[in-house]
């Protein structure tokens, strides 16, 4: 007699299962009908402490750029970059009857240029007195190697970093002949033997140059000292070349750049140690960034935790830092980069990590909406950083720093408005969602 019941149960179960209403209606009825349970706030009243500090030194070895030149900067004084490099050949074999024609240093432009390239720049090629070799295999922007005070060769030129492929500097034939003969006589068979007679070059601008800073490639097949020689034949001579290039193997650096600026007499003069922070309020409401020499803008958010004064439980959904370079501090000659790198530093101003955004490094990007009014403003998404600061239980006095890309191998400068600037104050715009009141 339980049979009808069983049949019924079966029926009902089938019905229940066959009517699975997992699909959810998606049409928009009721969008005005209820409020969100979440309150979202936009807050831009947090203190943003903007300051400038200077790295004691930047690593400039391991670069693929010969940075060379000099110009007078409005804020950083005389900005000078000189380069030091060692040259070697792939193999040291020349036919016995070869005759040297000429020798030249060929530097290939890599298109980087800063300041006025319409002005004449002088390049002086000095022979190094010591080898390009250092303990720990790291050279800095402050490193130097002694070189002969009288240049082996000099050249005045108008830089053509975009229109020409390379810069050609003729070297004295005696210098070339000496090395050429030693190779011919099999006295130079390897790098070590070459190094005993030729340790490398330093290229230096003239002391009073006020022109530009240029980038040259370190590529072995574009930048080299080239020996043009001839092999006499019965009717027509065969022309050959032998190249000495910057050849880096393993960890041993063979090139670095010495990059300096002269800030004596300016507010930046006080930055003698990495741990000194020059508040923008003490430096004309501005902060200063210069690649190569190591000046960077430091941003600290001392009052960020006051967001918890908002009642309820919440979390941040975005954090955008807006900073602005004063329009009169950049132009076509000294342009600003359209993106900035962000790194987190500890209280000793040591970089601890780079900040990421969706798996990619965070960049400050120029807000294109505001660019229309000739007002460049960088927007930097620092939500991940702020979120972490907020979730830290102990107070850690860390901050983040801003500098352009190619910080170790260029001389770009950026001036930024400080937090109390009358023109534009740096601000942090937070979006904060309270989900439990």
């Amino acid at each position: 007699m339980g049979r009808p019941l069983c049949i019924l149960l079966l029926f009902a179960t089938i019905v229940a299962c066959s009517f699975d209403s997992t699909d959810i209606p998606t049409l928009e009825v009721g969008q005005d009908f209820a409020d969100s349970n979440v309150r979202v706030f936009s807050i831009d009243t947090f203190t943003v402490e903007v300051s400038t500090f200077k790295f004691d030194s930047l690593i400039t070895s391991g670069t693929n750029r010969i940075l060379f030149g000099q110009y007078e900067d409005e804020f950083f004084g005389r900005v000078k970059s000189s380069s030091f490099f060692e040259l070697s050949a792939e193999s040291y074999s020349i036919e016995d009857d070869a005759e040297l024609d000429s020798v030249a240093l060929i530097l290939a432009y890599d298109k980087y240029h800063y300041s006025d390239t319409t002005k004449v720049l002088h390049v002086n090629v000095h022979v190094l007195e010591d080898e390009v070799r250092i303990k720990d295999d790291i050279f800095y922007n402050t490193s130097e190697i002694p070189f002969e005070s009288i240049p082996m060769a000099s050249k005045s030129f108008f830089p053509e970093p975009l229109d020409e492929d390379s810069l050609h500097i003729s070297l004295p034939l005696e210098f070339g002949q000496n090395i050429f003969d030693l190779i011919l006589d099999n006295d130079i068979n390897n790098d070590e033997e070459l190094r005993e007679v030729f340790k490398g070059f330093s290229i230096q601008p003239d002391e009073n140059d006020d022109a530009s800073v240029l980038g040259f490639s370190t590529s072995v097949d574009r930048t080299y000292v080239r020996f043009f020689y001839r092999i006499p034949e019965e009717f027509d001579d065969t022309e050959e070349t032998l190249d000495l290039s910057i050849r880096e193997f393993a960890q041993e650096p063979k090139i670095f750049n010495n990059i300096q600026s002269n800030v004596s007499g300016t507010v930046l003069d006080t930055l003698t140690d990495r741990e000194i922070n020059l508040l923008s309020t003490d430096s004309d409401n501005r902060s200063f960034i210069q690649s190569g020499s190591g000046y960077a803008t430091r941003i600290q958010l001392p009052t960020i935790k006051s967001i918890f004064d908002i009642p309820g439980t919440g979390t941040i959904l975005s954090a955008i830092l807006e900073i602005k370079p004063p329009p009169n501090t950049y132009n076509d000659l000294v342009p600003i980069r359209d993106s900035l790198n962000i790194n987190i530093i500890d209280q000793n101003n040591t970089i601890t990590e780079q900040l990421f955004f969706g798996g990619q490094p965070v960049y400050g990007i120029i807000d294109e909406e505001k660019e229309e009014f000739n007002e460049l403003i960088y927007q930097i998404p620092i939500g991940v950083y702020v979120d972490r600061e907020l979730n830290e239980t102990t107070i850690i006095d860390d901050a983040f720093i801003i500098f352009p890309s190619e910080f170790n191998s260029s001389v770009d400068r950026i001036i930024l408005e400080g937090e109390e600037s009358l023109d534009f104050s740096t601000r942090l715009i937070l979006t904060y969602a309270v989900y439990d009141e």
Partner: protein
Amino acid sequence: MMSNKLSVLSLVLFLTCTYIFSQTNRLTGSPYSLFGLGVGTNSNMGKNNALGKGGYALYNPDFINNYNPASYGTNTTNSFILDTGFLVEVSSLENTNTQENRIAGNFSSLGFSSNIDDKSTFGISITPFTDVGYSLIGIQTNIEGSFDQFNSNIFGSGALNDLRFTYGRTFFKNLRLGANFSYLFGTIDETEIIQTGISGLTVEESSNYRGVRLGVGLQYDIGSFLTYGFVTNLPTSLSGLQDREVEKSLELTPSLVESESEIELESFKIPLEINNGIRINPWKNLFINLDHSITFWDSTAQSDNVGEFVDQNVYSIGAEYFFDKNGFKYWEKIEFRAGMFHDTGYLRINNENISSTGFSAGIGLPLGIRSKSFLNISVTNNSRGSTNGILVDERINTININVSLKDFWFIKRKID
């Protein structure tokens, strides 16, 4: 008795099944179910739905009237009734500028009753108490401190179930008393997804409510053609525990903000409910019911999102007609039912009560010429809310199908 035990076992098994399904499947698509613990269910056992959702004075040993526990006290012998229902809700929603159709449906109720002796009957049932099923898309809310807005979508589903134990007894020839004990339980899930710029926040809340509620009822036969029914369901509060998971996507990086379980919620108060009704039986084959129900939501002083709770009155009228119960023809035994109701609503949004008015019609088909088992089909047309301002007007068509099986195992086969 052996098969009886077997059946009870299957019933328990099926109740478990019901519980699971009532958790996952929705019985409503009403945006008004956003408020409180959802909208009162459209699901019903027996005939009540077809009779304008009333019938506090109805009694009959052949069907379960869960509206009044006193009806369980109807004189009977060897009675066992099993009632199972299925509900489909087809609704059309409309506000000032949009119109959309929704459908929801599921197995909805299960109950049985068995008499203990001639004068008393005991029953167990499980029905939905409230239903939740809403999806609000594209809610625009101001970002405080700016002129911008953020977008959010809110989805809700779930139900509160009423597991009810009822006992009713005849005391005098014309007085029946009954009481029920309800265990109200269920889970309401709400997910809100908000989007602001490239960041997003997802709040998933799963709220578990439980509580007990008592009801007592009375039915008094004033004469052979008039019966008075009274039911009160006592106020109670449901305690709530919530599991909450909050996730966000900050600068394209997803992360878990919070995962908490068993957060204690403010308990939800269900107020006193007083129901009165009469049954008029002018002729042998016509029954008319007139009912009024009042629920004192005002006294709970609760409010929710944009709405507040107000006292709710429900007026209903219904009638049932058949040609001849003792007739020889099948069609003479078919029951025809019709009713209407007006519900003033328990919610007030923007100073407007979300009232509803509905009509119902139904038919009861006997499952055999001599059977007292019925297949009941009812159709309810109900409109709720209005299109004024931000409100939503719902036109809901409910189809309730239930099978009421009586005595199918006590009947001895005439011929073996």
